[in-house]
Amino acid sequence: MKGLKFILAGILFGVIMSKSEAISWYRIQEMFRFQSFHMYGIIGTAVIIGAIAVFLIKKFKIKDTDGSQIVLQDKKKSWPRYIIGGSIFGLGWALTGACPGPMFVNIGYGYWSMLIVIFGSLLGTYLYGVIRDKLPH
């Protein structure tokens, strides 16, 4: 089954996020209060290793499993959508302690009330789709 590797990658992701407590509302509060290095260590390590890997992938023109060269798309250059959209995201992140991945990991962990948060996030995504032409990007 071709999709199995993605399910396995997802399982690994869910375990990492849970076991490092990155799905915890408490840890997100600790981060936004600068009272522990934990979350900064996680994100910082991932970015440093990720940046080295991306550099090497580009330098040696590494191919993916389908045989095509790995291309990383550049994000569109502008600022309003990133600053405004990012800030709106941050408000919700600090309130619920969950960004999109951890919402679902938390469901598996047994936090059923997270379904309300997921439902809200789908509403928010839908709302963006409805009014996106009126927003500065």
């Binding site: 999709g3 993605f6 997802g10 399982i11 690994l12 992701f13 869910g14 990492i16 996020m17 799905i23 408490y26 997100i28 509060q29 600790e30 209060r33 994100i43 991932a46 970015v47 290793i49 940046a51 991306v54 993916d64 790995i70 990383l72 550049d74 994000k75 250059k77 990133y82 405004i84 959209g85 990012g86 800030s87 709106i88 995201f89 941050g90 408000l91 919700g92 992140w93 600090a94 309130l95 619920t96 969950a98 999109p100 919402m103 990991v105 938390n106 469901i107 598996g108 962990y109 047994g110 309300i116 948060v117 809200g120 996030s121 509403l123 928010g124 995504t125 839908y126 709302l127 789709g129």
Partner: protein
């Protein structure tokens, strides 16, 4: 081995593993970004008939939806076979600060004061969780990505837009934590 995995993982183990997932998905020809699933789920629910933004072939995101299903299974594994019975070691300063908000530290993964059935099904609690989710969903699509797409994938690719988005994530998070939360809970 299983005893070792049961322990809370240190930040470096987690950071290295997250980078590994990002690289793995690149090697599979995909790009690590979780919030794209929210758009695909709207499309699956039929939003494409009404709103153009959702009129796309969700099957291009099938791999990501499988990743989502895996992440739920990963959460379940962590709360069962890999469960660590010891209470979480949260910083003492955070415990004091959130107690002032009226959120008692219970040593679990998430506070029952917020995610327990009593609060979550009360009108106030339901509204807080719903609006919080709405902000995350709206904001991540507006910004074109969430923590995985911008903070991990984007910063690893040295994208200035992703840096702006991460600055936004923190601006919003700091405003919520330090200015708004005292009035909410």
């Amino acid at each position: 081995m299983i005893e070792l995995l049961k322990q809370p993982w240190p930040w470096y183990t987690s950071g290295i593993s997250i980078a590994f997932i990002m690289i793995l998905l690149l090697v599979y020809g995909k790009s690590f970004g979780f919030s794209s699933n929210l758009r695909a789920l709207c499309t699956l629910a039929g939003a494409g008939k009404r709103v153009k933004f959702f009129d796309f072939d969700w099957k291009t995101q099938k791999w990501n939806l499988l990743f989502l299903i895996g992440s739920i299974l990963g959460g379940w594994l962590s709360s069962t076979v890999l469960k660590n019975e010891e209470p979480m070691h949260l910083s003492a300063a955070t415990i004091l600060d959130i107690e002032k908000l009226g959120v008692a530290f219970d040593g679990q993964m998430n506070p029952s004061a917020i995610f327990g059935a009593d609060f979550a099904t009360s009108p106030k609690g339901f509204l807080i969780l719903l609006v919080g989710g709405l902000l995350v969903g709206f904001g991540s699509r507006y910004a074109g990505g969430c923590t995985s797409g911008h903070a991990i994938s984007g910063l690893s690719n040295l994208q200035i837009p992703s840096l702006l988005a991460v600055i936004g994530f923190f601006a919003g998070g700091l405003i919520m934590t330090h200015l708004l939360l005292p009035y909410i809970f």
